[in-house]
């Protein structure tokens, strides 16, 4: 099934102002603000939607608030949407909303939706680096380090859930929706890639006790490591509490920087994820500190070696 990735994540929160401030500080663009919530977009039109947990328009909560309330995938075309509707309609209620979203629940009970993707071409300056031994990318006399550089997340990357039965959860996505397992943490769960993208994962599932069911984290893609570092550093300077990073994952190779958030799980910046096709043979390792990252740093404030006396 030609699912291209995540289109939108919908959250039900208990502190709407803090959540809106979080997404604004994160760098997304607010495209809709009403008393009941807001919609924030990345450069390609993918989005995070935030509403008060009591909002009647939200999908039913499956975990205490704040938490994620709905995960909406983008599909390539109307035919794919109809294909998904026919497949999932075999054994569960599926509804088509006036917003064009086909809605149901996955086999864990997580509300999911599908729509013809909103993704649009990204209009942003190219990221150009100079590497010895390779043809230079950045033109002569064009500088790279710009303290005023705007860092707008480019695209919704992935979402991660704690689920009570990871094997059952995985089967739903692989057998019913055609997702591929790209890699696996044997003590946690699978990284999953839908057929319409080569990106390592847009979904990662973590086996957890039933009382943990819900959001683990979500992230948008930044342009590259440089932009991730700058965006994360600014985010922390604005008062958001770091959780993990910056560092670089091994599974997926994405750079990462996680922060605590008012959404019920962590909010991450990521960049430079691996691409895989169907010839890739999934790796399987235990998740631990060594297998989770190639390196890890902590934030620190600006500093200079100048000192008073040089």
């Amino acid at each position: 099934m030609n699912i291209v990735g995540l289109d939108s994540l919908v959250f039900g929160v208990d502190d709407l102002d803090a959540s809106i401030r979080c997404l604004a500080d994160y760098g997304l663009t607010c495209v809709e603000r009403t008393p009941s919530g807001a919609v924030f977009e990345a450069l390609d039109g993918t989005s995070a939607v935030v509403r008060h947990a009591s909002d009647g328009g939200l999908a039913e909560a499956f975990a205490p608030s704040p938490n994620i309330r709905e995960t909406i995938y983008g599909v390539a075309d109307q035919a794919t949407l109809e294909q998904i509707g026919a497949e999932l309609g075999k054994d569960r209620p599926v509804t088509l909303g006036s917003d064009g979203v086909l809605r149901c629940k996955d086999d864990s009970g997580i509300p999911i939706g599908f729509r013809v993707t909103c993704r649009r071409p990204i209009d942003a300056p190219p990221v150009l680096i100079n590497v010895p031994g390779m043809k230079p990318q950045r033109p002569v006399n064009q500088v790279a380090a710009d303290p005023a550089m705007v860092c707008t997340p480019r695209s919704l990357s992935h979402v991660v859930f704690f689920v009570p039965d990871v094997a059952k959860a995985e089967r739903f996505y692989t057998e019913r929706l055609g997702f591929r397992v790209t890699d696996r943490f044997t003590n946690a769960g699978p990284f999953l890639r839908p057929a319409g993208t080569l990106e390592h994962h847009c979904l990662f599932l973590i086996q957890a006790p039933a009382h943990m069911f819900g959001l683990n984290h979500f992230t948008f893609h930044m342009a590259d490591a440089n932009e991730l570092m700058l965006a994360g550093w600014r985010f922390q300077n604005k008062g958001w509490k770091g959780f993990w990073g910056p560092g670089r994952h091994i599974m997926g190779s994405n750079y990462f920087w996680y922060f605590n958030s008012p959404f019920g799980g962590a909010i991450e910046f990521d960049a430079d994820m691996d691409l895989h096709d169907d010839t890739w043979v999934p790796r399987a390792v235990d998740a631990n500190a060594e297998t989770s990252q190639t390196f890890l740093f902590d934030y620190r404030p600006l500093w200079s070696p100048g000192g008073k006396d040089h």
Partner: protein
């Protein structure tokens, strides 16, 4: 509140002032750094004349709880929340009622109120087990 620092509770000089009770928002929380430098390693929650204190360390994987400075509670102020993975804790006891560490508790910091001042142990020795540390993905 009893805890790892109970041995210091007999001598008055074993406590030092943290701040005035009226400097804490009633019904709210505030984080502090025990060394005076660095990130907040404990926090207190005030309800009227009662103040409770806890180490800023989630029993789930040993990280700080707040999402911003002093934001340790849910919006209604009824629960302490870890904003990494959504664990909820009882304010009065630190007991985790929901989330990854359900059934475990925050490490309590003994607090005294003396003449309108909030007092904490002069020497803070966090539990011998230390912060639980990362137990893995779940």
């Amino acid at each position: 509140m009893a805890g790892a620092n109970e041995s210091c509770t007999d001598a008055p000089e074993a406590y030092r002032p943290l701040c005035g009770l009226d400097e804490l928002p009633d019904g709210g929380a505030r984080g502090f750094c025990s060394s005076g430098q660095g990130s907040d390693d404990f926090f207190v929650v005030r309800r009227g004349d009662t103040v409770v204190g806890y180490r800023n360390c989630c029993p789930h994987n040993g990280v700080a709880l707040e999402y911003r400075k002093d934001m340790f509670l849910n919006a209604a102020g009824t629960d302490i929340v870890c904003y990494a993975h959504g664990a909820h804790f009882d304010v009065a006891t630190g007991y985790c009622t929901y989330g990854p560490c359900a059934g475990e508790s925050l490490e309590a910091l003994p607090i005294r109120i003396e003449q309108g001042r909030v007092m904490i142990p002069r020497t803070i020795a966090w539990g011998s087990g230390g912060c639980p540390g990362n137990k893995g993905w779940s």
